[in-house]
Structures are given as structure tokens and as C-alpha cells.
């Protein structure tokens, strides 16, 4: 079973289990995580679903695409473990993933 741990901007965490094979962004949106804006709806054209992936989970994910890299580089909060959650597929192989919602860009 795939499990997603989400740490909000205020430090509180929630755990989402039994997830459909969609993106982490869609999982959070469908579970009422309002602070994740995801303005473009997942078409890889903004960076408003920016999250930090816990270091021990990073190796499970494929590398960032060029487009994702470009969009993230616009954020002053970009770090090595930055990802766009619309690009993270919640596959069975992932098993568990821990992410933190990045600060809101101005």
C-alpha cells in the first residue's frame, strides 16, 4: 500500500493511505490540502505545487525533467530535494513517500 506523509507549512503532518495511482499533487488536492495551490492543474506550467522530498525517499524518484528543473529554478526556495508534486506518480513501487510543502513564492 502506498503511503504519503505530508508536512504542512505550519509543521503539522498528515498521512494519506490507500492511494490511487495518480500524482502526489492530485492526492493532496483530493484530500483537502488547500495550501498546495497547484494553479495549472498539473500540466507542468507553473511551480505552485512545489514540495521538498525527504532525502531518504529521493532515490525512489526518477530525476527531474528539464521542464521541471526550469520551473523550479524560478523559485527562491529551490533546493536539491525540490520537486513539483504534479510530477510525482504515486506508484505501488514507491511504497511510502514523505514530503514537505515548500514556502509560497511571492
Amino acid at each position: 500500500m502506498t503511503v504519503l506523509s505530508v508536512t504542512m507549512r505550519d509543521g503539522q503532518s498528515i498521512f494519506l493511505e490507500g492511494l490511487p495511482p495518480t500524482s502526489a499533487m492530485e492526492v493532496m488536492r483530493d484530500n483537502g490540502v488547500d495550501e498546495l495551490l497547484a494553479l495549472c492543474g498539473g500540466c507542468l506550467s507553473c511551480a505552485s505545487c512545489h514540495v521538498f522530498v525527504r532525502d531518504d525517499c529521493l532515490a525512489k524518484l526518477p530525476p527531474r525533467s528539464t521542464e521541471e528543473e526550469e520551473l523550479l529554478s524560478e523559485s527562491p526556495y529551490m533546493k536539491e530535494n525540490s520537486r513539483l508534486s504534479c510530477q510525482i506518480q504515486m506508484t505501488e513501487e514507491l511504497e511510502a513517500l514523505a514530503i514537505t510543502i515548500a514556502p509560497e513564492d511571492d
Partner: protein, 416 residues
């Protein structure tokens, strides 16, 4: 600096362009995908990749590019003069972020799916009222009434003002004009400007009173979310002038764009009966058919941006402070992105990659509602009105706006 490229004869508010923009899109994409339009002092960006690049780069292509056609000098009303530049399509972060944050929970696919039964019931009711007539004006008798009913139900605003909402929609979109350093605004006869501003003043008064009522009696609805949104310091995040514009434009966006999508899809199916046969044989194709309708005709020709620096795009250098029209609807017709782009093909695999809901941070907030409503409306129409088709040879009349597609009438007929 080299002279900017232009396209002779281009007129975005001409009947010729509004009813059939395709030849102009093709001409632009073949000759110069980015060009300057001196008559209204703005640049035009066509082509899929050019539009995406500009829409993603919101820091260079700011959305603060709209202003209002001013009221006549003798207009005495005190309606806010800044309707246009308070619009959700004309603000940048952090204002845009505050508005989207307040509203977005109402627009998730899960929240929108709860509207399905109401859309279906409303569509069926309208069809039942029409079915023995054998002919009607689809825009006025079905598309606009349905979209208005749905958006009014969705926004939870009083239903007894529906006639006003429809009129205010046309008034709001009509006064939108791109900014211009040269003081050029969209031409509008003085008496028309007077009438539209008089009605917009009524709309401001109406939504102010409604907002005050929501402050006193909070509901689970978008207006309450707007009036109660707080910034990090706990102060109101969205000023009243912006709330008025947002409410007006939420009503407007909901009742204009989807209505036109439905109407234009009936036109497309009339012109392409083989495609209608395919969706009738396999109703699971309806969602993709809606995407294909969006791709080939869209609901908004384009939206405006203003450059915050000199920027080079498609071989043209657009100077800082230039207004730019991102012609989103041309993106769907780009042969580099869509094979046989002029063909209406309900099985097209990448149909949903159109730009008709925009691209980037300003992607249409209401897109899940538009998609749901158009699909249900079309299924209901073709189930309820046998052999529904547009009447041949009719002339089309569009509202002269650049940000939305507004067809006034569409004569249709069916077998009784």
C-alpha cells in the same frame, strides 16, 4: 532596433476575425508568429511553444495589462473605474495568489463533480421545454440559460437576478481593453459606454450589499471565502473593489465561456457528422470530444500580458512595457503540435493538450466545471433532440471582445 513585424489587415474585433480566425492564425504562424498590431498598440503572440513560454514566465509577462474603456466625461455614477485591472486575469502574485487560495477549494474536481446532477436536471428541463418546437436559438434558449443556472447555483447567489447577471457579463467583458502607453483604448460609442457603465454601477452596488450580507451571515460559498480571506497578519486579504470584480467575473466566466463551447461544438458536429456518429456509437468518447472542441475553437481567443523587460521571442524583440496578446486559441491550431490541426477529430490522442484554459499560474480556475457542464449538456442535447443540427447558411454575430468568444445566436433544428 529593427522595425517590428506586422500583419496587414489584422483586426481582432472585426466580424471577419471573430467568426473565423483560422486564416489569420495560419498567416501569422507561417509568416511571423509574433507581431505588432499598431492600431491597438499591442503585440500578438501565436504558436504553441511561444505562448507556453510567455505564459510560464509570469515575471516577464505580467498580467497587469488590462484597463477599462472609460465612462463618458458626463457620467455621474461612482462605479469603481478599475473593474478591469482588479480582474483575476489582470493581477499578479501576491494578489493573484490570495484570490486563488481563497477560491480553489470550491473548484477541485471532487467539489465540481457534486454539480453533475444539477447540470443534468437543468439541461433536461430546458430540453423538455424545447423538444416539440423543432427549432430554436440554441444560444439564447439553451446554452446561456443553462450556463447561467449552473454558475448561479454553484456560486450560491440569488437566482432572481439572472437577467441582470447575463447583461452584466456582456458589460464587463465589453469594457475590458488592453493598456496602452499611447492612450489607445478599444473604440466604443459614447452612448454604449454610458449604458454599460450605468449597469456596472448597479452590479457593484448589488455585489457590495451581498458581500456585506455574507460578512454578517457567513455561508459555505465563494463570496464568503473572498470576504473572509485573511493575510498573514490577520487583515482582510482581498479589498472590496477586487471582490466586486471577482464576483462579476466569476458569474461572467461561468455563463459565457461554457455556453459558447457548447454552441460551437454543435456547430462543429453539424459540419462533421462522422465525428458525431463516433461519439454516439461510443459515448466514452464524450470527454475527449469536449477537449477536441476546446482545442479547435476554444472559448477565449486570448488574454493580455505586459512585459516587465525587453524580451526576445520568435525572432522579435518586444520592448519593456509592451502589451502582449497571448493568442491561446492559436495554440490549438499549431501544426507543429497537432497533426492535421484543422481537422475536428474526437479521437485525437493529444486533444487535451490545448491551451484553451490558458497555461501557467493563470490556468482557468473553473476548467473542471466547464468540462463537466459541456459534456453533460452535449450528451443531453443529442439524447433529447433527434438529429440536432445547426441551420445552414446563417450569419454569425459576435460581441466585439478580445478576451472571450461570445456568439449571440445559433439557429438549430431537429426532428420532432
Amino acid at each position: 532596433m529593427a522595425c517590428p513585424a506586422t500583419i496587414t489587415g489584422f483586426d481582432p474585433i472585426s466580424d471577419e476575425f471573430l467568426s473565423n480566425p483560422y486564416p489569420w492564425y495560419q498567416k501569422a504562424m507561417e509568416q511571423t508568429p509574433v507581431f505588432y498590431h499598431p492600431d491597438l498598440d499591442f503585440w500578438v503572440v501565436t504558436g504553441y511553444e511561444n505562448i507556453c513560454r510567455a505564459a510560464r514566465d509570469y515575471k516577464t509577462f505580467s498580467s497587469k495589462a488590462l484597463e477599462s474603456v472609460p465612462p463618458p466625461a458626463d457620467f455621474k455614477g461612482d462605479a469603481p473605474r478599475n473593474f478591469a485591472n482588479q480582474s483575476i486575469v489582470a493581477i499578479d502574485p501576491p494578489e493573484h495568489t490570495a484570490t486563488r487560495t481563497a477560491l480553489q477549494r470550491f473548484f477541485t474536481p471532487a467539489a465540481i463533480n457534486s454539480m453533475a446532477d444539477h447540470v443534468k436536471e437543468s439541461a433536461d428541463q430546458l430540453i423538455t421545454s424545447l423538444d416539440e418546437r423543432g427549432e430554436c436559438d440554441l444560444m439564447q434558449d439553451f446554452c446561456y440559460p443553462l450556463s447561467l443556472e449552473v454558475v448561479v447555483e454553484f456560486l450560491k447567489i440569488p437566482k432572481d437576478r439572472k437577467g441582470d447577471y447575463r447583461q452584466w457579463t456582456e458589460d464587463l467583458f465589453s469594457i475590458y481593453s488592453p493598456k496602452s502607453k499611447k492612450g489607445i483604448v478599444k473604440p466604443m460609442p459614447e452612448n454604449e459606454a454610458h449604458e454599460r457603465w450605468t449597469r456596472l454601477e448597479q452590479s457593484a452596488k448589488f455585489f457590495t450589499e451581498l458581500a456585506e450580507e455574507r460578512r454578517r451571515n457567513p455561508q459555505d460559498d465563494p463570496l464568503t471565502a473572498l470576504v473572509s480571506a485573511k493575510d498573514k497578519e490577520g487583515n482582510p486579504a482581498i479589498p472590496m473593489a477586487r471582490i466586486l470584480t471577482h464576483m462579476n467575473e466569476l458569474v461572467a466566466a461561468g455563463n459565457d465561456t461554457t455556453a459558447n463551447l457548447i454552441g460551437h461544438m454543435v456547430l462543429l458536429f453539424t459540419q462533421n457528422p462522422d465525428q458525431l456518429a463516433k461519439v454516439k456509437a461510443d459515448p466514452s468518447l464524450w470527454p475527449n470530444a469536449v477537449e477536441e472542441g476546446l482545442r479547435i475553437r476554444g472559448t477565449s481567443p486570448g488574454l493580455f500580458r505586459i512585459t516587465t523587460r525587453d524580451v526576445e521571442i520568435a525572432g522579435q524583440t518586444i520592448p519593456k512595457d509592451s502589451v502582449v496578446w497571448l493568442l491561446f486559441s492559436s495554440g490549438g491550431l499549431d501544426e507543429g503540435k497537432f497533426d492535421d490541426a484543422m481537422e475536428f477529430d474526437v479521437t485525437r490522442e493529444n486533444a487535451s493538450e490545448h491551451l484553451s484554459f490558458g497555461h501557467g499560474r493563470h490556468t482557468c480556475l473553473g476548467n473542471p466545471l466547464a468540462r463537466l457542464e459541456a459534456r453533460i449538456a452535449l450528451e443531453s442535447l443529442y439524447d433529447g433532440l433527434p438529429n440536432l443540427r445547426a441551420v445552414e447558411g446563417q450569419e454569425f454575430e459576435y460581441l466585439p471582445t478580445m478576451t472571450v468568444l461570445t456568439l449571440e445566436h445559433l439557429k438549430v433544428t431537429w426532428d420532432t
